[in-house]
Amino acid sequence: MTATTPAEPTQAQPTQAQPTQAQPTQAQPTQAQISAEIEAEEQAYAARPAGTPAETATRRGWGAYRSSVLRVPRNDPHHVDPEGAELWAPCFGQRDVDPLEADLTIQGRGEPLGERIVVTGRVLDGDGRPVRGQLVEVWQANASGRYVHQRDQHPAPLDPHFTGTGRCLTDQDGTYRFTTVKPGPYPWRNHRNAWRPAHVHFSFFGTDFTQRLVTQMYFPGDPLMGLDPIATAVVDPAARARMVATYDHDLTQPEWATGYRWDVVLTGAHRTPREDDLAAAFGEEA
């Protein structure tokens, strides 16, 4: 996640090894300063008065994530009851998504470089019901930590066989499944020597529009996660752990790919979904 503008020219001569790397400036905080900000918030949270409920969501205002400073609303959101279309979600079906879009390793003429993985899990609503026939979208960096995106300035190689984007529909059990390669970590400009932990971006719809969720899936044991101003904006340790996939050897396929499981829980629906909600998504099957 770099700034939206291309790298500013620097007065110092860039080195050959880091052709587009901005030189540190006095305004740029260090990882130690950012980590101190994060730890202060974590300690304040751990010391919250007994009986204070655990936080389940990401913090909105999070100063360690510098891009948030001018973008997060100052006012608390206004409470309202859902009405009309808000009680429903958009409907996607077989016309919208080709099943081949769930395999990010077959979009080029050859095999992408990197560690081939399967990522699968169930999408559930807050009452434990599977979210069926719904759109799931993913995007990610390649194995070297580089996005196809034109604004990605990281001098790591692009992979001609990997775009890093995919889609699928959940099945009758709420299960999604993607085949891809494990993304690499990559640097960004939040502070000096800032690196994002390896992650896959995910977009989910529920059965009503208030459940709309865009988030990121992380990998187990990533040492960068605790240093990252985006992942740590989820302060509660249990809530943060819900963004981390589990390695699952039963999903690992011999001679082919390692397997990760990541179940996703949306917020509660405001309307009990009916079986015939599926009619449009599954056509004659519903």
């Binding site: 973008r71 279309a85 958009p90 016309r95 993913v138 449009a280």
Partner: protein
């Protein structure tokens, strides 16, 4: 109540453009259609600067006020109205949808579309509504009796009702600061929406 705690949101980041937009995403109906209406605006940050890397989604009922459950948003056939669209802001922070005016979803209800905004710097998506103004699908009585609008002061209400902009409707989205859009949260969502 909620049996299982929800998965937290994370920012959409700056690199979604190859994944989330699709050709025709913002044209819920072809622009040349007689009853097509343009709904557009600028997304601005707390410094008043346009946000060139936001993604806006629109979800609405049809002109008859009924919820649409038609697939095909990602491959529009030119005939089916799906009620859902998506638009990445351009370099000037502008978004623009071509759609049909939503009807009242209940007797006497004020018609609106629901918008969600994603952007780098927003750790979680924002939700709001854009109400149809008087004379363009909205009525004085319906707007005055709307449960949300009637709970707001004039300044807050003004951020939710579209302005008439010639043949189009305009709804700027201010993330933060003066003129900040009234962002919404609903029952069953964690604190902060």
């Amino acid at each position: 109540m909620t049996a299982t705690p929800p998965t937290p949101g994370q920012t959409v980041g700056p690199f979604f453009h190859d994944a989330l937009p699709w050709p025709g995403d913002a044209a819920l109906v072809p622009p040349g259609r007689a009853d097509a209406v343009r709904l557009h605006g600028v997304v601005r940050d707390g410094a008043g600067d346009p946000v060139p890397d936001a993604l806006v989604e629109l979800w609405q009922v049809g002109p008859d006020g009924r919820v649409v459950q038609q697939p095909g948003s990602l491959h529009r056939d030119g005939h089916t109205f799906t009620g859902f669209g998506r638009c990445a802001t351009d370099r000037a922070g502008s978004y623009s949808f071509t759609t049909l005016l939503p009807g009242p979803h209940a007797d006497g209800a004020a018609p609106f579309v629901t918008l969600t905004v994603f952007a780098r710097g927003l750790l979680h998506r924002l939700l709001t509504r854009a109400y149809l103004p008087e004379g363009r699908g909205g009525t004085v009585d319906a707007l005055a009796s709307d449960p949300l609008l009637s709970a707001l002061d004039d300044a807050g209400r003004a951020t939710l009702v579209c302005d008439v902009d010639g043949d189009a409707l305009r709804r700027d989205l201010v993330l933060q600061g003066p003129g900040e859009t009234v962002w919404l949260t609903y029952p069953r969502l964690p604190h902060g929406g």
